[in-house]
């Protein structure tokens, strides 16, 4: 109870410090809700699967229809060919029969004209007739209907004619009338016509079938083309909606980033106001002269403003370079004729260091103007810094008085309290030595590993 550690408890045992930016950046983005986006993509996918199934069904139906049409066309073709073959055979048989009859007739004439050698030819024709007539009639019977009747008639007439010729030859008289021959020719012509008509009909039917098949195939082709166009359209639309979604996601990410940055900025501004208020009240508390108090307050607020001005670029995550900070905070105090030399590697500072560093170097510069190298017009201030592999920024602040004399440590005012406080805030250490030529201060600022990575990445780019 009532214990008052002075000035503050050791903070070395604190949890490892997390870079403020990294900490806030790991929060999940507010706009992108993974559940709703998954549902959205599912919703987009569902109609596409239905359409695909429908398209498959239609394709299958079209294929069935195509196959049926082609089969039917082939069957018709085959039938027509068979009909044609049959008709050709029948005609050949009719011709054979007629040939036998002509043969018999010419042989019979020969016999009648006194050529007895022709008798065997006639007998051969007579013997061949029944078989040929039988074959022909069988063929015409297969064709059926009228042809069958005609065939029987042809056969009867042929046999009748053969019998007549045989009788005349036997009586050696030729009294047979010419009419049965003419009748024969008429019948065979009728059969030929009939067969030709049948053939024509078969051809016509085959042509019609082929035309129908062509039409169906054309329709199938058109449908396939249409389906392909539809599929292409769907794919195009899917790609477009996909790219639109990507675009929306990108916008959401950017908006979240902007939100984050604006929140951070607002937070920082409020914090800075609070710090400014405390600068005013703390300075006023330690300074009795109101004019001096106002002056000190102004200079401290100005240092703070300068340090933070550097970080107000577009990217809040990247803050200021250490060299720029020194330039902004320290150089304004450099009196005309005096010298400021700064050298060190390009190094990006983490945001948390801006306020304490601004205040520390402001106090150091103020002291230099009051009591140190810059108290005369030809003094020199040299600031060198190095960034070691152990993630420590080491700054050597060396003052070179114009004329060597007794250096004045200056009074331990509130300025040094402010330095101590800021050092604590930055977890930094400072060692001060007063030599012949003035103050030499060595400051060590430890960086966290995340800050170091960031610093190195950014430094490498510069």
């Amino acid at each position: 109870m009532g214990v008052k550690p002075d000035p503050a408890p050791r903070v070395d045992d604190c949890n490892s410090q997390i870079n403020q930016w990294r900490g806030t950046a790991t929060n999940p983005p507010r706009g992108a809700d993974p559940v709703s986006s998954a549902a959205r993509s599912l919703w987009l996918l569902a109609p596409r699967t239905t359409v695909s199934a429908l398209m498959l069904l239609v394709l299958a139906a079209l294929f069935g229809a195509g196959a049926l049409t082609v089969t039917r066309a082939f069957q018709a073709e085959n039938r027509a060919r068979q009909d044609m073959t049959e008709a050709r055979d029948t005609l050949a048989q009719v011709n054979d029969l007629m040939l036998i009859l002509y043969e018999a007739e010419s042989a019979q004439r020969g016999v009648l004209l006194g050529d007895g050698a022709e008798v065997p030819a006639f007998r051969a024709a007579q013997a061949a007739l029944p078989a040929a007539a039988g074959q022909m009639q069988a063929s015409l019977d297969r064709a059926g209907g009228d042809l069958s009747v005609q065939g029987r008639r042809l056969r009867d007439l042929a046999e009748q004619r053969m019998a007549e010729m045989s009788a005349t030859l036997t009586a050696l008289t030729d009294t047979s009338p010419r009419s049965p021959m003419a009748e024969l020719r008429k019948v065979s012509d009728a059969i030929r016509r009939e067969q030709r008509a049948l053939m024509d009909a078969a051809y016509r039917q085959a042509d019609a079938e082929r035309l129908r098949a062509k039409r169906t195939l054309g329709m199938i082709g058109l449908s396939v083309l249409g389906l392909m166009a539809l599929a292409a359209l769907l794919a195009f639309r899917a790609a477009r909606s996909e790219s639109r979604m990507r675009y929306m996601r990108e916008i959401a990410v950017q908006r979240d980033r902007a939100d984050l940055v604006s929140h951070e900025l607002s937070h920082r501004v409020k914090n800075l106001f609070a710090v400014i208020m405390s600068i005013v009240s703390v300075t006023a508390r330690s300074e009795t002269d109101p004019r001096l108090a106002a002056q000190k307050t102004r200079s401290r607020i100005q240092a703070l403003a300068r340090a933070h001005e550097l970080s107000s670029g577009q990217n809040l995550m990247r803050t200021a370079l250490f060299g720029d900070l020194l330039d902004a905070v320290v150089r304004p105090y450099c009196p005309p004729g005096a010298t400021l030399r700064c050298s060190g590697p390009s190094l990006v500072l983490p945001a948390r260091l801006l306020t304490p560093m601004g205040l520390i170097f402001n106090e150091l510069a103020t002291n230099s103007v009051k009591y140190g190298a810059w108290s005369s017009q030809s003094g020199t201030l040299t600031v060198d810094w190095t960034f070691a592999s152990d993630k420590t920024l080491t700054v050597v602040w060396q003052e070179q008085l114009a004329e060597t004399g007794t250096p004045q440590p200056g009074r331990e005012g509130f300025g040094s309290t402010m330095i101590d406080l800021s050092l604590q805030q930055a977890k930094a250490m400072m060692e001060r030595r007063w030599g012949n030529t003035g103050l030499t201060a060595t400051l060590k600022f430890p960086f966290s590993s995340a800050e170091k990575v960031e610093a190195e990445a950014a430094t490498g780019k510069d």
Binding site: A8, D13, Q17, Q20, F273, V275, Q425
Partner: protein, 138 residues
């Protein structure tokens, strides 16, 4: 107890509280140090900055809540409502607030704690005088 990562602000708060008669524990700049301190000593009230260099002060706030120690959040956060959701009894001073205003808030919180937990009315009435916090250990 003062927990605040801005050193100057912490100093200002601590000095103001001391001027008002409180014995100040801290200021603590980091959560770890603050948690260590409260585990070793008893405190009567606390002023807590919410964001401590990337960490939140919530583990400490929960601990104090469990112990029945009243506290005031001093924060630049834009959403005090979410703080009230998590810590119903807490009082909130948005940054920037004068140390006197913060002290008044803490005094109210201490008064509420004294009245007992049956009083659920925490209207943030502005208390003009921070002297009610005197003789308390803040």
């Amino acid at each position: 107890m003062v927990v605040e990562d801005e050193a100057l602000l912490a100093l200002d708060l601590a000095m103001t509280m001391e001027e008002l008669g409180a014995a100040v524990v801290g200021p603590c700049y980091r959560l770890g140090a603050a948690l260590d301190l409260v585990s070793r000593m008893k405190i009567d009230g606390a002023i807590l900055d919410v964001d401590l260099n990337g960490e939140t002060v919530f583990p400490l706030a929960r601990y104090l809540d469990e112990q029945g120690v009243p506290f005031v959040f001093h924060t630049g956060r834009a959403d005090p409502a979410s703080l009230l959701e998590a810590f119903g009894r807490a009082r909130i001073c948005t940054k920037p607030s004068t140390p006197e205003r913060i002290a008044a808030c803490l005094a109210e919180a201490l008064a509420d704690a004294d009245r007992g937990s049956d009083n659920d009315n925490y209207a943030p009435a502005y208390v003009q005088d921070g002297s009610s916090a005197s003789s308390q250990q803040a």
